[in-house]
């Protein structure tokens, strides 16, 4: 074995170890929580002495948890399409519009991503308080759209940037009016960007804590219910709801990604 090969092997070994340690650091706490969520014990401990779906059954029958879960899903279900539509419109305008002021508009639109959420939350709290919209789904939706929009604009904008406009010209020369060329060619081609924007929007909304905390008192979302219940009791229902959130997020991502694959594969077979 040569020295170069030795060095190569050593480097691979070090890289691999660092990756494993980093992944373990990132994922292990969540895996532990996930394992804990399947406990049949009445207290939170690792490893559980007995396993079961007891706590999942509990949160899916408990009024407080069900209420929060329903509200979170409803808000995310509204936030996602609204963000997608606004994000597409904004990204398209930034891509095709006149270059004057483009950078300024872009910076303003993605500002919520950079600004401290505590400040955003306080500002929105005032607006919502004065307009008596506390505890309303509308208030949550508006807040979540604000912070989800930058992600949508960036991901959709990135796919618009690599989109070859000659495809649209080809479509137009084949008799498609500009809006039909956009619908039949541009949208399908930038679909990966749209899928990513959908996932980001849904997760951003479902996970949002800080701003929603400012806007809510009694009608809470899942992250706030977790926080609230944590402050006075520590039982495995929190692990179960966390597990549910985790599985929902992973499941949604997988579903959308697989959906993209299936849909384009289906076209081949159609």
């Amino acid at each position: 074995m040569t020295g170069a090969q030795n060095r190569e092997d050593a480097r691979g070994w070090v890289t691999g170890s660092v990756a494993v340690v980093t992944l373990a650091f990132l994922l292990l706490p969540q895996i532990i929580l996930l394992v804990e969520s399947f406990t049949a014990d009445s207290y939170l401990a690792f490893p559980p002495t007995r396993y079961g779906l007891r706590w999942y059954a509990f949160i899916l029958s408990d009024d407080d948890w069900l209420d929060a879960l329903r509200r979170s899903l409803l808000v995310a279900a509204i936030v996602t399409p609204v963000t997608l539509l606004l994000g597409l419109m904004a990204a398209y305008a930034l891509d095709r519009g006149p270059p004057r002021g483009r950078r300024t508009i872009f910076t303003l639109l993605i500002a919520p991503m950079i600004l401290p959420h505590v400040v955003l939350g306080l500002a929105q709290f005032q607006v919502v308080f004065w307009s008596h919209m506390q505890d309303t789904v509308t208030a949550y939706v508006l807040a979540h759209v604000t912070i989800a929009l930058p992600y949508a604009i960036i991901t959709i904008g990135a796919s618009l940037q690599v989109f070859d406009r000659r495809l649209e010209e080809a479509a137009q020369s084949l008799g498609a009016a500009p809006w039909r060329a956009a619908f039949h060619v541009m949208l399908p081609v930038i679909r990966p960007g749209l899928v990513a924007a959908t996932i980001f929007s849904f997760i951003t909304s479902f996970d949002e804590f800080i701003i929603t905390y400012f806007l809510s008192t009694r009608r809470v979302t899942v992250p706030i219910q977790i926080f609230n219940s944590l402050s006075f009791q520590l039982d495995p229902s929190i692990a179960a709801i966390s597990g549910l959130t985790l599985m929902l997020t992973i499941g949604l991502t997988g579903f959308l990604m697989a959906g993209g694959q299936i849909a384009s594969g289906g076209r081949i077979l159609r």
Binding site: L167, S173, L174, P188
Partner: protein, 362 residues
Amino acid sequence: MSAVNIENVTKRFGQMVAVADVSFEVKPGEFVTLLGPSGCGKTTLLRIIAGFLRPSEGTVRIGGAVVNDMPAHLRNVGLVFQSYALFPHLVVRDNVAFGLRMRGVRRREIDRRVGEMLDLVQLGDRALYLPSQLSGGQQQRVALARALVTQPTVLLLDEPFSALDRKIGELLRAELKRVQRRLSISTILVTHAQDEALMLSDRVAVMNLGRIEQVGTPERLYERPRSRFVAEFLGRSNLVRIVQSGRDVRIAGPVEGEGVPMPGTSGIAIVRPENVRLYPPDSELRADRYGGTIEDVQYLGHARIVRVRLDAGVAIEAIALSGSDWKPDAASRVTIEIPSGSFHVIGEPTLSGASELDPSPR
């Protein structure tokens, strides 16, 4: 009625004039090439015809109708890009069917016409492939089928062979010509490759600096170029000052180092290398022969390009076909012969020294 008629079209981008007062027409079934170096305005002109740019001045007619204000999707033109521009999310069949779907043609009719067109470009067995699963040459054939299936008034081709390997490009050229003849569709090809233009076109329009320098059949342009630009853009050429007395034409000297015209010279002419004959150095000297020294020999396989420095100071390129007994060597002496009829006069030297060679300002 012509398929396409361009009248005094000018296109300005701010201060820059991309197309300057261009007029030409394409007759039904005719294959016209816009040939010129990059930046000569040929692609801008094509985009004006396709409807993606508006002319600043002038009139564009397609099939007799003025289309200046007509959006691209109503013009009924077929367009093929250098980059193919196939829809990546649609299989070959759906790419070709796109134009028919947009026109609301019935499904059965679409299937029939798409099938015919795919057979015509010999891709009947690739109907269900995605563009990414095809080679470059196959993709460009799909693009051609897609552009032709709607039976456009005119087919516009924007450097369609430039992205392909040389060999594939040549095959596709022959196929394009076959399909074009078969459907007798009016076609405008934009290219910077003179061999494509000469091989495919009924007529060629040579463009330079936004203007058309000359329009004509490939033969006419090659044999009777009107300007130095046309002569040098199409094939190899020798440019010389000549003296003319009666029918006899002789080389007087080099063109470069212009300014004061040489006394006794009567014009500037081109000589194509294939019209220059090479003889051994000890050959008999006649009025149409010149002695010289070989400066450089480029071996091309089937022939050699031989550059000869005449004793009069002019460098002349000649073509020596391979296979003859005599092999030209650099630095050896040689005699060349240029018959008087092989000179083609393209400009008269004037007293100011500014010749007619390049009428457009740089």
